[in-house]
Point group: C2
């Protein structure tokens, strides 16, 4: 199977919205009138972002999901994406499963593959996603104001729990591993929530490197500080413990590390003024996405952690950095 | 140097045209009124597209150049690009040189870096480029008609000559190697020519895998055949031989292979009706780009090669395929 056969068989599908899709030098696309184009790009590298033996169907899903998550964090509606794929071999079974996983998620979001590149080399998947958002309505990192609530979607920490279990660092009962592993390998991009938060949230981003590190980007861009109630950031863990009839299955500090600095969550963290609480809850309900209020933005710089009683919590959690010493 | 330091120091620059550049979840961009967005994506892998010891300044140039070449082939005006970079190490000197080479070419084309991704891993560079073209005026592969002339810009074969010399497959005198190597390592995307050909050319693409293989894409997409005068496709080689006062420095078949199936040329191959010959020459002059008429489109399928006397030339040249057996 040659390069062009591979593209035709697994990656070329008719486009409906784009003016021109895969197969020419460029694809052609036009955002709607009054719309800005939202553009983001994520690269996944074997051994760094996924295990060599990962299910290619799930990998296809995740490669697109992490990009759609960036559109979600901007409140944009997905339009199209390009895929650049470096593959050691033109493996038909792998390509079939990968493309199925990718296209299944793409179909859910009416997001079209419009172009890309295929080359031989170490397994590397680079997707650039294009969305549209009404001009001036994108959710940015720079809009948080003192007094705003801080919210997160869904649950944090599951992906890290799964990763540590798969690496043999921490035991995880099989029933929990299955659930956690799905969250690691097939995250759900919060696209509908992001769109519902336009005009409601003052800032937003997606949590990919860990909550504390990512929230700090909002604080830096907005010139503010924050206080987080760490007892509110562990809803999934609590649910897990309930399922097992025990709260003591994990060390409390370890759980806190997973939820505050776990990474690979692909949940949205966003801010909104207190008078918008009902609107936020409605946005969550309308998009069938749980949302939890976990803290508030403060005028002075810095990120404070407290427990349920308001007492300070010490934190020494490192956010993920690809080139950290 | 951590991931975000690296991005800030080498890859974050203020944007002028985009509404939002590097540093948020998505960049924001709007093509002008009546414009379609042209999107293309190329991935460069170490050991496959470039030597491990290549000058990073040149690599930065080439990584963007091969993408701009796709915009050129569509007749689009560059707007912006994203860069996803997988790096074994956060090497400051390498990043500085790479980004300088890339931004120097970007500045020439007023094309902004608006986002991307940085990760640790085997050296891999993935750029997605965005341009704009008046709706309906993009140069496609599907527009060639029987009777059209076939043209190429610049010269073909230099990059292959350089590659073979660097691999020790074929000797090349130092003066020629310097010139040829520049064409391999720092190709010139024919952006101005592509724009000048809007409304003139009936089809176009950029020659990256070799003339014959790439021209076949036009023939397939347009449902036509072609006849090429192979004596017209070796202008650079002839110039080289003249420089050395000898025409016999290379085997004729080898030269033909370089020009017809060399690859990495990043010249434009395009078609236009005979009555547009003056317009094509004017487009070449206006963009300071040599253009050469090398054949014509025929109604029946197939790609025929002839010599200057019109006699058939046998060809067994393979175009580049990343997964060919």
């Amino acid at each position: 199977m040659g390069e062009f056969d591979l593209i035709r068989r697994f990656f070329q599908r008719p486009v409906r919205r784009a003016a021109l899709g895969v197969g020419d030098d460029c694809a052609l696309l036009a955002p709607g009138p009054g719309m800005q184009l939202a553009v983001s790009c994520d690269m996944l590298v074997q051994g760094r972002h996924f295990f060599p033996d990962v299910d290619p169907h799930l990998l296809g899903h995740k490669s697109l999901a992490v990009n759609l998550s960036d559109l979600a964090a901007s409140g944009a509606t997905p339009l199209a994406f390009t895929l650049a794929l470096s593959l050691p071999l033109a493996d038909e079974a792998w390509c079939a499963a990968f493309s199925e996983g990718m296209f299944a998620l793409a179909a859910q979001h009416d997001c079209e593959l419009i172009g890309g590149d295929t080359t031989a080399g170490p397994l590397n998947i680079c997707i650039t996603v294009l969305g549209e958002v009404p001009a001036g309505q994108a959710l940015l990192r720079s809009g948080a104001r003192a007094g705003d609530d801080i919210w997160v979607s869904g649950n944090l920490g599951d992906a890290r729990l799964a990763l540590d279990a798969l690496l043999g660092r921490h035991p995880l009962p099989p029933a929990l591993l299955t659930t956690a592993r799905t969250r690691l390998e097939a995250p759900t991009p919060r696209v509908a929530l992001g769109q519902a938060l336009r005009g409601v949230a003052t800032s937003a981003l997606d949590v990919s490197d860990g909550l504390l590190g990512d929230l700090q980007h909002i604080l830096d861009a907005s010139g503010v500080g924050a206080c987080i109630d760490t007892s509110l950031t562990t809803p999934l863990i609590a649910a897990y413990a309930d399922m097992l009839g025990s709260e003591a299955i994990f060390d409390r500090d370890y759980l806190r590390q997973c939820t505050l600095a776990g990474g690979d969550d692909y949940e949205l963290c966003f801010t909104a003024p207190p008078q918008a609480r009902d609107a936020v809850l409605q946005a969550g309900a309308a998009s069938a996405t749980p949302v939890t209020r976990i803290g508030c933005i403060e005028a002075h710089a810095g990120l404070r952690l407290v427990d349920a009683a308001g007492e300070p919590v010490a934190a020494h959690f490192a956010s993920f950095d690809h080139f950290a010493d």
